[in-house]
Point group: C2
């Protein structure tokens, strides 16, 4: 096998009380990539569709992660990469992570899997760092492993796969505005009240337990963010209105996807998710701001060959 | 049945990264109580052994929780309570919680269980509040339910039972010193760095996952306290030495039991626990401070009839 086509999914990082450590994986929203084994040594980006991204390997997220992996091997051949980008950069649902994960996953498949998924994520971190200026894995881990993940530490990389109930769906609204990562970071407090921190880890421990026990009511009771949402939600127009109508329509909880501007709403069952999507969509249509909607099952597989 | 004898166990609250929300239950260390249904209305403490505690119902922790339950019913009889106190007040392993839980559990058994365990814990909170000047359930919940518990909220009371591996043991050292609760509280910072808070909830989420999956190595990796231990450990003589020898002897992790002065060490297997106990004991013998040691399996049942 010299050529492979893969699907690299969108992801949601943070998940309310799981700020900076938790993420989950989407189905049906993601990039496609073709990885081709070629005689010429090195890594080349040969085709990009969907968004205007750099072709130069060292400036392309998928290229940088691919290079990190390539340089760890001693191969007498190379790879060409074609990118069919569907996840808009800056949307907050792991666009750069999908690129970073896709290239190394595809190469690994063509090479008969010399690396495990944690090792592949280590390479992908190098690509993610190009986009986000820091080494983190909140979106990489769910894109690579699927389902819900907890990044216990980045160095050494320690990823936990948290089980989740089968009938869990997510609704994403992506308002077409830009939030600068630097602004989303600067708005966070350096210190937080101990009481808020306790609330956050109580909710986070409860969320992990709720996912393990497929307890939807407890997922709902745990999806609160006492620490980050009060600050970052100010950067997203009509955030509280979206959250309100989502909960009224039956969502278990809503929160900021990554550093925004996308907002996720977790739901029990597809019918509820559709209703939540419609309610959010109807409400946001009045704001005059363009937006996209996605409804997706939680994707338990992660990146895959198609 | 007009008389019942119960065992009300010692407990460890906080559990490193689970500050203020998590606790677990001990076996073999606890109080005994006799609850007797009598014609005379009201609640009376008729016998106390072990430690010098008030006989007046309204001033006795077991009496206050019993009264809270008694007043919620309309009974034409009353209860006498005998207390055989084994858990030293102020030791940090839930002495007052054992008293508060024991009386209401025993009465509930004699009345053929009109209340569930969460409701009983609500009554016990009133007794605990007499001892600790605030309404909390970190020790009550594990004493009542057994195993590991997560108190998600006190008002309304929401207790989660977290499963735990079968071969988990705890070693307790109780240095015979007094730590004033007011001092243990005053030493805590009002605000903490966001980065420490993130570390704490990452570890706490990991601990919940580790308990669910019986992953001893991950329990070990998660038993860290980035927030409270650096402050409160200063109040416990030779704290870091105890922790060091416990880890060297094979403990998964050590931390402050409640607000101290007791120190707990969780261990995989009885043999390791015995070795850890011996190492701590040998080390502490040199300090000139009197101490008690306990080795106990995690008690999955909680308070029980004997």
């Amino acid at each position: 096998m010299n050529e492979i086509r893969i699907f690299s999914p969108a992801t949601v990082a943070n998940v309310s009380c799981g700020f900076d450590v938790m993420g989950f994986c989407l189905d049906g929203v993601g990039d496609e990539m073709v990885i081709r084994k070629v005689d010429k040594k090195g890594i080349r980006i040969t085709h990009i569709e969907g968004f205007d991204l750099p072709y130069k390997t060292e400036l392309n997220v998928a290229g940088v992660s691919a290079l990190a992996m390539y340089n760890a091997l001693d191969l007498d051949f190379g790879f060409d990469i074609e990118i069919f980008k569907n996840i808009k950069p800056g949307s907050g649902i792991g666009s750069s992570a999908a690129s970073a994960v896709g290239s190394v996953f595809g190469m690994n498949e063509l090479l008969n899997r010399p690396f495990n998924k944690t090792q592949l994520t280590e390479f992908a971190i190098k690509g993610e760092a190009l986009a986000s200026k820091c080494e983190h894995a909140d979106n990489l881990a769910p894109a690579m492993f699927g389902g819900f993940t907890l990044v216990k530490s980045v160095s050494p990389l320690h990823i936990l796969e948290i089980p989740s109930p089968n009938d869990l769906y997510v609704v994403i609204i992506h308002p077409q505005i830009e939030i600068k990562t630097s602004e989303a970071r600067a708005i966070l407090p350096k210190a937080i009240p101990l009481s808020d921190a306790i609330t956050q880890w109580s909710n986070f421990g409860s969320l992990v337990h709720a996912l393990h026990t497929s307890n939807y009511q407890l997922i709902k009771d745990s999806l609160h963010d006492a620490v980050v949402e009060p600050h970052r939600s100010q950067l997203i127009p009509h955030y509280s209105k979206v959250k309100k109508v989502a909960l009224q329509a039956g969502a278990l909880g809503s929160g900021i996807a990554g550093s925004g501007p996308s907002i996720f709403s977790l739901c029990e069952g597809f019918e509820t998710a559709k209703q939540v999507s419609k309610s959010i969509s109807d409400t946001y249509a009045d704001t005059g701001i363009d937006f996209d909607m996605h409804v997706s099952k939680i994707n338990k597989q992660g990146v895959k060959v198609i």
